[in-house]
Amino acid sequence: MNPPDLLARCLGYLPQLLDGAITTLWLSAIAVACGFFAGIFIYMMSASKSRMLATAARVYVSLFRGTPVLAQLLVFYYVPSGLGWAIPGVVAAAVGLSMNTAAYQSQILGAGFRAIPRGQIEAAQTFNLTRRQALWHVEIPQVIALTLPALVSEMIDIVKASAVVSVIAVTDLMRVGQQLSSVSYRPLEVYTLAACFYLAITSLLSLAGRGIERRVARRT
């Protein structure tokens, strides 16, 4: 195992791993974005006056937080196909990851919503803002600013959790690593390289998060 060979081989793996990393990135981005809106919706349900809606939200959050992502993905992928309604792995992965992060994001955003003084909502009503306007223009911008560190760490968690979509036939970073390792018979270097890709993505996300946080802190 001499170093120049190793380097040449690693360079050879790069294009495919990069493809996989792009799949991982957009899948995580879709999940985080959908999960954000679904998370707001679930929080609204849990905060509503209707007992039934609140209980439904609680059950949802408890189920998704109390079980592994892998088990959830298997359900989303195999149960529809078992009922004769086969869906592609990518769709099952996007839906599963979105619904998973929605449960976590509803908890994160809920803490942000509760931190907003009631007076602001009353003031918005006094200024004749509709409830929806108050929500999108008064509450949500503040909620995002307040919960940004937690949202960034949830993003990082979703990038890492997305590695298990390799099991339901999505060619993400992990899956590309498995394919390369079964072709090259060099699992140690391939998997280490794939891990480096994950490390780069999560490190960049946390750096970006810290940068934005500093900017938000300066503005307020």
């Binding site: 408890s62 189920l63 937080r65 109390g66 079980t67 592994p68 992502v69 892998l70 088990a71 959830q72 298997l74 359900v75 195999y78 149960v79 196909s81 078992g82 009922l83 990082i156 990038v159 890492k160 959790a161 997305s162 590695a163 298990v164 390799s166 099991v167 992990m174 690593g177 498995q178 390792s181 060099r186 699992p187 140690l188 998997y191 280490t192 794939a194 891990a195 994950y198 490390l199 999560t202 490190s203």
Partner: protein
Amino acid sequence: MNSFLSLIPRFADAILVTLEVSLLAAFIGALGGFVLNALRLRFPRWLAAPYRVYVWLVRGTPYLSQLVIVYFGLPVIGITMTAVQATIVSLAFYSAAYFAEIFRAGWASIPRGHGEAARAFGISRWAAFRSIEMPQAIAFAIPLLANQTILVIKESAVASIITVPELTMTASDIVSSTYTYIAPYAMLIVCYWLLTQCIALAAQWAQVLIAPSRKTS
């Protein structure tokens, strides 16, 4: 309903495998994290940098990628393990980083004055660590420790990929041999949910037990 009942024996076995693997890994991980944090506190100058790198590596990569490096990668350099061993080793290595950070937060929650007071009274460093800092830090950390144990149980599902016969692997086996989908997967979700709820309840109970001693101290 009948199909559910017939699944119970196999799932009961599988729950035991999941519990055995994840609780053993969590225990080793917690012990490792505790020692790591203690060493970091004792030798801040030497260990601060390596500790940060370790935490960065473990928390920056998915557990699955750590597992495949241990199970498929390490044999290349002559370290071969069974699937169960690889799972326990990698899961302990993974969770130790998180546990160490939890203990770090526990120690950070102790007011500085306590250490200074102990030194003023001539209490040795070890005695202060053991009887002043540790009880407070652990009482602070109980909910976080329980949460981390739940995370370890959930991560252990990934071991099904390297054919450890735990819950997820068992459900997939039943699905592929019987072509029924709903019952095994529903059972799978129920089993994990019950496991994690039990840990959460146990943690609440442990906190109630510890709370009185916390007030008097």
